[in-house]
C-alpha cells in the first residue's frame, strides 16, 4: 500500500516536473517543438498537413495526434523526404498520426527501448512502414499500413515485442520479424500483400539468430499481389501467394490463425538455400528448427487462378533476370503449392493436423502432440522497470543525470572537470554554477569549452546545481 502510494506520488511529481505539453499546429515546425521539449514531454499535433521529416534524440517523448471530426494530423513526405519519424530515445510513444509518401520509412526507432507505436495510418513508403530496430520492449498495435515497398511492419533485431491488432494490405510483406527474439504477432489482419507474415533469420547482420516467435489468432488471406520490392532487396525475392514464410528462424509457433486463399502456400518453412542469391554467413545457421504448426484453419491455399499465374510468371522472369536460376531451384521456382510447403530441411518440425491439409515436401515434419499451447504467454513485453527508463523524481537529479553527467563524473575527469573539483570551487554558491553554465568561458587548458546550457532555464539549472553540490 505504502509502496503504491509512493509510486503514485512519484508519478505525479514526475509528470508535474517533466510532463509538459507542446502543441503544434500546421504551419509550425514539429522539429522546433522537439528541440524545446525535455525528456518526459508530450507533443500534441493538431489536425492538418505537415511536410517534415522529424528526428527525436531525447528519451521519454510522446507524439500524439489529435483527430477532430475525422480529420487527422498528416505527415506527408511528398515523395521527397526520406523518413517520417526517426526516434532513438527510449520510452518513445507515437500515436494517432497519418504518415505517407516518404522515400524510406514511415516511423523508425533506432536502438530505443520501451517503444509504443500505435494508432497510425502509414501509407506509401519506399522501405518499411513501421520499423523498430535494435529495441527491447516494443509494442506495435492498432496500426493500418498499406502500399509499402518492403514490409508494412518490420521488427528488426528486437527483443520482447508485441505486434497486435494491425491491418496490413497492399504491401510486399505484411509483418516481418528479422533476427528478433520473443515476438508475439497476434490478432492482425494481413491480406492482399505479396506475402503476409515473415519470420526470417537473415545473413550479414550483427544479430545472428531468431527465436521464440508466436504467430497467433491472425487472419492471413489472399496474399497474392505482384512483388514490387526494390531490385536487390531480399524481399524482392519473396514469392507471391505466400501467406507466411519461416526462413531459418527457430522456435516458431503458429496457432489458431485463419490462413486462406494464398495461391502458393499457406505457410512455407524454408532454409536459406531455397531463396535465390541468399548471402552465406558462417555464423548463421541456415535451417528452420523447432517450428510448430498447431491448430490453424487452412482454406484453399496453393491454388492458382489465371491472374495468379500471370503474377507468378512475371515474378519468375524478374528473378531470373536479376539473379539467374538459384540453388535449390526446384523448391522455390516451380510452384508446387499447398497449405504447408516445406523445403526438406530443418529439424524438430511438426504439424498438428497433417491429415487435413494439402502438404508439399513436408516429409521431415512430425505430428505435433498438442493442438494448442498449454500455457501461452499473453505478452512478450517484460516489466518496463527492468529496462532503463527514468524513475528519478527530483528535478535536480533528473537534470544533472540527463545533461551534466554526460561530461562530468564525480571523482574523475570525463570530458569536463570532476564534480568534486566543482564542489570545492562553488561551495555554498549554486548560483555561481548557474551563472557559469548559462554563459561558460574557457577556464582550463586541455579541456573543451563547456557549451552554454541557458536553454534549460533557471529552475532546472538551479536544481541541478544544488544537486551537484551535494552529490557524493
Amino acid at each position: 500500500m505504502l509502496r503504491s502510494l509512493i509510486s503514485i506520488a512519484l508519478m505525479l511529481i514526475t509528470s508535474l516536473a517533466f510532463g509538459a505539453e507542446h502543441r503544434v499546429a500546421p504551419g509550425e515546425k514539429i522539429q522546433d517543438a522537439i528541440t524545446k521539449a525535455s525528456p518526459g514531454d508530450t507533443l500534441i499535433l493538431l489536425p492538418g498537413i505537415y511536410h517534415e521529416g522529424i528526428v527525436i534524440d531525447k528519451a521519454n517523448i510522446t507524439i500524439r495526434g489529435i483527430i477532430e471530426k475525422g480529420s487527422w494530423p498528416i505527415l506527408d513526405g511528398q515523395g521527397k523526404l526520406n523518413d517520417g519519424i526517426i526516434a532513438s530515445g527510449s520510452g518513445f510513444t507515437v500515436e494517432s498520426l497519418h504518415i505517407k509518401n516518404y522515400k524510406a520509412n514511415g516511423v523508425t526507432t533506432q536502438a530505443a527501448d520501451n517503444v509504443t507505436i500505435r494508432h497510425l495510418i502509414v501509407e506509401n513508403t519506399g522501405i518499411y512502414g513501421i520499423y523498430p530496430t535494435l529495441g527491447r520492449n516494443v509494442l506495435v498495435e492498432d496500426n493500418v499500413t498499406f502500399g509499402i515497398a518492403d514490409a508494412g511492419i518490420y521488427i528488426g533485431m528486437c527483443q520482447h515485442t508485441d505486434v497486435r491488432r494491425n491491418e496490413l494490405y497492399d504491401n510486399v510483406a505484411g509483418i516481418e520479424s528479422e533476427n528478433s527474439h520473443d515476438v508475439l504477432i497476434e490478432n492482425n489482419y494481413v491480406y492482399r500483400n505479396t506475402s503476409g507474415i515473415l519470420a526470417f533469420t537473415l545473413p550479414e547482420l550483427p544479430k545472428k539468430t531468431s527465436g521464440n516467435i508466436i504467430i497467433r489468432n491472425n487472419l492471413i488471406a489472399d496474399n497474392n499481389i505482384m512483388n514490387f520490392g526494390a531490385k536487390g532487396a531480399i524481399v524482392a525475392s519473396v514469392p507471391p501467394g505466400s501467406g507466411a514464410i519461416v526462413l531459418a528462424a527457430d522456435d516458431v509457433i503458429f496457432e489458431n490463425n485463419i490462413i486462406r486463399d494464398n495461391s502458393l502456400a499457406g505457410i512455407i518453412v524454408a532454409h536459406h538455400g531455397a531463396i535465390p542469391n541468399m548471402a552465406k554467413d558462417p555464423e548463421v545457421e541456415p535451417n528452420p528448427d523447432r517450428v510448430k504448426i498447431l491448430n490453424n484453419l487452412f482454406i484453399n491455399n496453393g491454388t492458382k487462378k489465371l491472374g495468379d499465374l500471370v503474377i507468378w510468371t512475371r515474378y519468375l522472369l524478374k528473378q531470373i533476370m536479376s539473379s539467374g536460376i538459384p540453388e535449390g531451384a526446384d523448391e522455390s521456382i516451380i510452384p508446387r503449392g499447398g497449405d504447408i510447403v516445406g523445403t526438406k530441411v530443418g529439424t524438430n518440425l511438426c504439424i498438428y493436423n497433417p491429415e487435413n491439409l494439402k502438404l508439399r515436401d513436408t516429409e521431415h515434419f512430425s505430428k505435433c502432440a498438442e493442438s494448442f499451447q498449454a500455457n501461452p504467454p499473453v505478452t512478450m513485453i517484460v516489466d518496463r522497470a527492468k529496462l532503463p527508463v527514468s524513475t528519478l523524481a527530483n528535478l535536480g537529479e533528473q537534470t544533472y543525470s540527463a545533461i551534466c553527467a554526460g561530461c562530468h563524473a564525480v571523482n574523475y575527469r570525463l570530458i569536463g572537470p570532476p564534480v568534486k573539483e566543482i564542489q570545492e570551487k562553488y561551495k555554498g554558491n549554486p548560483q555561481g554554477i548557474v551563472n557559469f553554465a548559462k554563459a561558460p568561458v574557457k577556464v582550463r587548458d586541455g579541456y573543451p569549452q563547456m557549451p552554454p546550457q541557458a536553454y534549460l532555464g533557471d529552475e532546472k539549472l538551479r536544481a541541478a546545481a544544488e544537486y551537484m553540490l551535494q552529490k557524493k
Binding site: T35, P39, G53, V55, I56, D57, K58, A59, N60, N82, D83, I86, A87, S88, G89, S90, K103, A104, N105, T108, Q110, A111, A112, D113, G126, I127, Y131, E204, L205, P206, A230, K231, G232, A233, I234, N277, A279, S323, P388, V389, S390, L392, Q398, S401, A402, I403, A405, G406, C407, A409, N411, Y412, R413, L414, I415, G446, P448, P451, P452, Y455
Partner: protein, 375 residues
C-alpha cells in the same frame, strides 16, 4: 634518485661493449640484493598518467575509456547502445607499448616501425600502394576480429602477423624480435619497471612484449567527437549541415547506420560493398576519425569522403557487373541523394573526428634508432 646517466642512452649500437658492462653491473647489484642505480635512473621513465587518447585514470591508477554511453545517459538521450567492455589498461604498459610501436627495432632490417604503416597523423591507418591499406586502430579495444578479413580474434595473433610477414617487418620468427629487444638494456629496465620490479629483467618474454604493444593499441580510444557531444544534448556541437547529414546517415534512404552503427560506427560484420577491386568480403571499418584516414576502402580507391559518398549514392557494387555486384550486401543499393545531401553527409562524417585527440610521438626510442612514422 638521479645518480648518474646509464651508458646506453648514448646511441645504442656504437656502445654495445659498454652496455654489456652496464648489464654486468646490474647483475652484480642484483646478486648483492641492492637496487641498481642503472635501473632506478633512466631517461625513459614510463608515465603513470593516461595518454590524451580518450582515457581517464581511475582510482586504481588504471586507464579506462572516456565514454558517455552509460545506462544513466540512455535514460535521457537518444543514444545507440555501446556493448560495454571492461577495458582497464596500465598506463605504464601503454607507455612502454608506445615506445615499441614507434621503434624500428621491431623490423628485421630495422627500418620499419608499427607507425610506418599505422600513421598517427592518419588515425593509425596507412596507404600502401599495391597492398591492402593498413586498417586504422581507433577503438580497436572494442573489435572482436582483426584484419580486413577478420581472420584472427586475438590481438596476440594480430601483432605477430605484421612482424613476421615478408611484405612487412620480415622477421623470421617472433623469437628473433624477442631476442633483439632483449639485447637492449633499456627495454629490460623498462619491462622491469612496468612490473614494478627494482631489478632489471634478465629475459623479456614474447607475451610480455605483446601485452605492452596491445596495451598501447587498445589505448587508442575515442568517444569524444562533436557527434558525441551533440547526442548528449549539446545542440551547438554540430553545424546545421552536419545535423542534416546525421539524419541522412541514419535514414533508411542511405542505410549507412545499418552497418556503420553508432556509437562505434561499425557493426563488425564482414561483407561486400563492391568497392573497386573488391574480390572478397571485408570488415566494416569504423568511421571514427574517418576524415583523417584518406584514401578510402581496403585498396585506397577513393581520395576523398565525397568520392566515397558518391560511390554509395550510385549504388555501390550493385551498380557494377560481375562478382562484386552479385555479392553486394542487400543494404547497398542506389540512394538518389541530391548534391546538397551528399555535402551534408560528408559534413557529418567530419563530425566523427575529435581534433583534440592525439598521441605523443616519442622523439627517441630505447633502441637508439630514429623513431619511424609514416612512409
Amino acid at each position: 634518485m638521479a645518480l648518474f646517466k646509464p651508458f646506453d642512452l648514448v646511441a645504442g649500437e656504437l656502445f654495445r661493449p659498454m652496455r654489456t658492462f652496464s648489464n654486468i653491473l646490474v647483475m652484480i647489484y642484483a646478486v648483492a640484493g641492492i637496487s641498481s642505480p642503472l635501473v632506478a635512473t633512466n631517461e625513459f621513465r614510463l608515465s603513470n598518467k593516461c595518454p590524451n587518447t580518450g582515457l581517464y585514470l581511475d582510482e586504481q591508477g588504471l586507464c579506462r575509456p572516456i565514454q558517455p554511453y552509460s545506462e544513466t545517459n540512455y535514460k535521457f538521450h537518444g543514444l545507440w547502445k555501446l556493448e560495454q567492455r571492461d577495458i582497464k589498461l596500465d598506463p605504464r604498459q601503454i607507455d612502454l607499448g608506445r615506445l615499441l610501436f614507434f621503434d624500428p627495432i621491431l623490423s628485421k632490417d630495422q627500418s620499419m616501425s608499427c607507425a610506418t604503416c599505422h600513421d598517427p597523423k592518419k588515425a593509425f591507418s596507412g596507404n600502401r600502394p599495391g597492398l591492402r591499406n593498413s586498417p586504422g586502430l581507433i577503438n580497436l579495444a572494442y573489435n572482436p576480429k582483426f584484419f580486413w578479413d577478420g581472420r584472427t580474434e586475438s590481438s596476440a595473433d594480430q601483432i605477430k602477423e605484421p612482424l613476421t610477414s615478408p611484405l612487412e617487418m620480415a622477421n623470421e620468427s617472433v623469437e628473433s624480435v624477442t631476442n633483439r629487444i632483449n639485447n637492449i638494456s633499456i627495454y629490460r629496465n623498462l619491462f622491469a619497471e612496468v612490473q614494478q620490479s627494482k631489478n632489471q629483467k634478465s629475459e623479456i618474454s614474447w607475451p610480455e612484449i605483446v601485452l605492452a604493444i596491445d596495451s598501447f593499441q587498445k589505448s587508442l580510444v575515442t568517444f569524444t567527437a562533436p557527434y558525441d557531444r551533440y547526442v548528449l544534448g549539446d545542440s551547438a556541437a554540430m553545424t546545421e549541415s552536419q545535423v542534416r547529414g546525421l539524419s541522412l546517415f541514419r535514414s533508411f534512404a542511405t542505410r549507412c547506420a545499418e552497418c556503420h552503427t553508432p556509437p562505434l560506427f561499425t557493426n563488425h560484420q564482414i561483407l561486400t560493398v563492391g568497392a573497386p577491386g573488391e574480390a572478397r568480403a571485408f570488415k566494416v571499418p569504423t568511421l571514427r576519425q574517418i576524415a583523417k584516414t584518406a584514401p578510402y576502402t581496403h585498396r585506397g580507391s577513393f581520395n576523398s569522403l565525397s568520392d566515397v559518398v558518391k560511390f554509395y549514392n550510385e549504388g555501390g557494387g550493385r551498380s557494377r557487373q560481375g562478382i562484386s555486384g552479385r555479392n553486394t550486401h542487400w543494404h547497398v543499393r542506389p540512394i538518389g541523394l541530391s548534391n546538397s545531401e551528399e555535402t551534408d553527409l560528408v559534413a557529418f562524417l567530419n563530425a566523427l573526428s575529435d581534433d583534440s585527440w592525439r598521441v605523443e610521438i616519442p622523439d627517441k626510442v630505447p633502441s637508439g634508432l630514429l623513431p619511424r612514422v609514416g612512409n
